[in-house]
């Protein structure tokens, strides 16, 4: 293998843009040749081929594992032969799910949706790569390099001193450094096996609080498998808004899912990439970016965002625990009292699911609902406006999960949701480790008993 000719430098050929050919040989010496729906990069020494149908190729590689792939660069038309050796087939897990998602994109791109069904990801070791002689086109104009963009983003993220700032800085870096127009960050609710949007950019509404269950769409699969999922063609079955809708129509999840906050997102994205954000082996969040351009996110972009998220996860973790340190900053001068003459804001809360309504309009449910209700109760009964995160964390009324409570992320979600609703009620920072409830109208608290309609 020539030192310059490695799979890492040829990943462009492994995007499924131009179909590759595969030659195998039967035990009696008869050659067989087919088109390969998908040839996928696994690592510098391995590729995966999609196994969809039982056919001669399948029979051959099980009997004689040596095969040759002829693949093409989709930009320059340069050709390469890969000598490969079949190792094993994976029928579940991250690699299988990545291939399944990619294949869905290729299938709909080639008019094969409904025909392609992935049975397995066949893993092959690459024994040799040969450049096939012949004419080539000049390589396309190089886009802005990703490493400087990554470095600037990493620098900016590592300077953040709060989760809130981290989330905003991430969005800004994706926009400015990577030119990404549509993005969302979803925090993981491990106990509930779902993700909730905490921030987004590019959409008409932020969707803060909207939920996606693990396993649904590109985002949900990335969460469940803890693996990046990337599709560079439109793939209807992975458009998560559609997937969610279908699941909701299925009924079973409808009761558990937050459907009242509409999901933002492109209706039919042409490219999608979801990257899990991990701290150790714990899923913190999923970063999702999408585009209306075909082939917008390539392997290198996936690498860059995976690297960025590798810093993001531990930073989220660290900033959430730091956020609990209360520096005892004295309370700022009291807020102007709410306008007593204004009609009170009716806050109705349902204990069963923590759902909370402002003037009969749905706001939020679950832990975030319980948090707001508790703060409002203390405000009403004790006249308090400021709360330390440390005391909140110990307050059983908040119903925080015992481990990984994500209190800070939930407070950010709550404050953004209140902002989206332009409610006469806000949550803002009040010094390190403290938050403040800001009301511009008096409130009247109503504990609902029956499930809200």
């Amino acid at each position: 293998m020539s030192p310059a000719l490695t799979l890492d430098t040829l990943r462009n050929c492994l995007e499924g843009i131009v179909p590759a050919g595969l030659a195998t040989c039967a035990p009696d010496g008869t050659p067989n040749v087919t088109y390969v729906s998908q040839l996928m990069y696994v690592d510098p020494e391995h590729v995966a081929l999609s196994f969809q149908f039982f056919n001669k190729t399948r029979e051959n590689i099980l009997a004689n594992p040596h095969a040759t792939v002829l693949m093409m660069d989709p930009d320059t038309a340069a050709r390469y032969r890969l000598s490969i050796r079949y190792l094993r087939t994976e029928t579940a897990g991250p690699l299988f799910e990545r291939m399944k998602a990619t294949l869905a994109g290729i299938a709909s791109h080639t008019g094969m949706a409904g025909v392609f069904r992935l049975r397995g990801a066949d893993i092959y070791r690459v024994l040799a790569i040969e450049a096939v002689p012949g004419r080539q086109l000049p390589p396309p104009v190089a886009r802005a390099p990703l490493l400087p963009a990554l470095r600037r983003s990493v620098d900016a993220l590592s300077r953040c001193r709060s989760l809130d700032q981290l989330i905003d800085t991430l969005a800004q870096c994706l926009e400015r450094q990577f030119g990404i127009d549509y993005q969302m960050l979803l925090m993981a609710d491990e106990a509930g096996h779902r993700l909730y949007i905490v921030a987004s950019r590019g959409y008409a509404s932020s969707g803060a609080g909207a939920e996606i269950p693990y396993g649904v769409g590109v985002i949900g699969v990335a969460a469940r498998e803890q693996a990046p999922i990337r599709i560079i063609f439109p793939a209807a079955e992975y458009a998560y808004s559609r997937a969610i809708r279908e699941q909701l129509e299925g009924g079973e999840l409808a009761e558990q899912l937050e459907a009242a906050i509409p999901l933002p997102g492109l209706p039919d994205p042409s490219s999608q990439l979801a990257v899990p954000v991990l701290a150790g082996d714990r899923l913190m969040a999923v970063l999702y970016v999408e585009s209306d351009q075909l082939c917008r996110f390539d392997y290198d972009m996936e690498d860059a965002l995976v690297a960025l998220c590798a810093l993001l996860g531990p930073s989220m973790c660290a900033l959430q625990s730091e956020a609990l340190d209360d520096d005892g900053t004295p309370a700022l001068p009291a807020q102007p009292p709410p306008d007593a003459a204004a009609p009170p804001l009716r806050v109705r809360y349902f204990d069963q699911d923590g759902s909370l309504f402002l003037d009969d309009t749905y706001l939020i449910k679950g832990v975030a609902g319980s948090i707001l209700w508790t703060l409002l109760q203390d405000h009403q009964m004790l006249g308090r406006c400021e709360f330390s995160k440390r005391e909140m964390r110990l307050d059983a009324r908040l119903r925080l999960p015992e481990v990984c409570d994500n209190l800070d992320a939930r407070l950010i979600l709550l404050s953004r949701r209140l902002e989206d609703r332009q409610a006469d009620l806000r949550i803002e920072k009040a010094g390190r480790g403290r938050i403040r409830l800001v009301l511009s109208r008096p409130v009247s608290l109503i504990a609902g008993s029956a499930q809200a309609a």
């Binding site: 050919g21 595969l22 030659a23 195998t24 040989c25 035990p27 010496g29 008869t30 050659p31 067989n32 040749v33 087919t34 088109y35 729906s37 969809q52 149908f53 039982f54 056919n55 001669k56 190729t57 004689n64 040596h66 095969a67 040759t68 002829l70 093409m72 989709p74 320059t76 038309a77 050709r79 032969r81 000598s83 080639t110 008019g111 094969m112 025909v115 392609f116 096939v132 002689p133 012949g134 004419r135 080539q136 086109l137």
Partner: protein, 167 residues
Amino acid sequence: MTPPPVLTPALADFVTSHLSIHIAASDARGIATLVRGLGCRRDPADRDRLRLLVAGPQAEPVLRCLAANGRIAAVFSEPESHRTVQLKGRDAGPCAPDAADAAFLAPYTDRLVARLATLGTPEPFVRTLLACPVEDLRVIRFTPDEVFGQTPGPQAGQRLSAGSAVP
């Protein structure tokens, strides 16, 4: 009694209708290799035979295998419909291109360019992929003795009996 020819008129019409072609051969160690085909036409001297055009430098490993054992597999795919067949033969061998082969290459490429353009494949890409200086042109001649339907789907890979419709 000689079996009916595999290359029926319908099949011959299909495989010569400006399709995307890959050609494979295998060596004595059981390792198969492949090359892109640049064109296909019926051999005027023997209507049961096909002539496949390849670029010599690209096809070198394939030509070497064919010279040794004559066993060939060639897959023909119609880009718009994905209709695909694979032909196999045991008498394949390289032969020198004649003037008709050389004259045939350019129009064949033009047709495939036009076909792929409807699918959004840029013309320069297709022309580059199929580019071959006349002096590099080689011909592989063979008699198909087996045909398999290979249109994607659960039926892919099934042997087609002589005279059955192209899937």
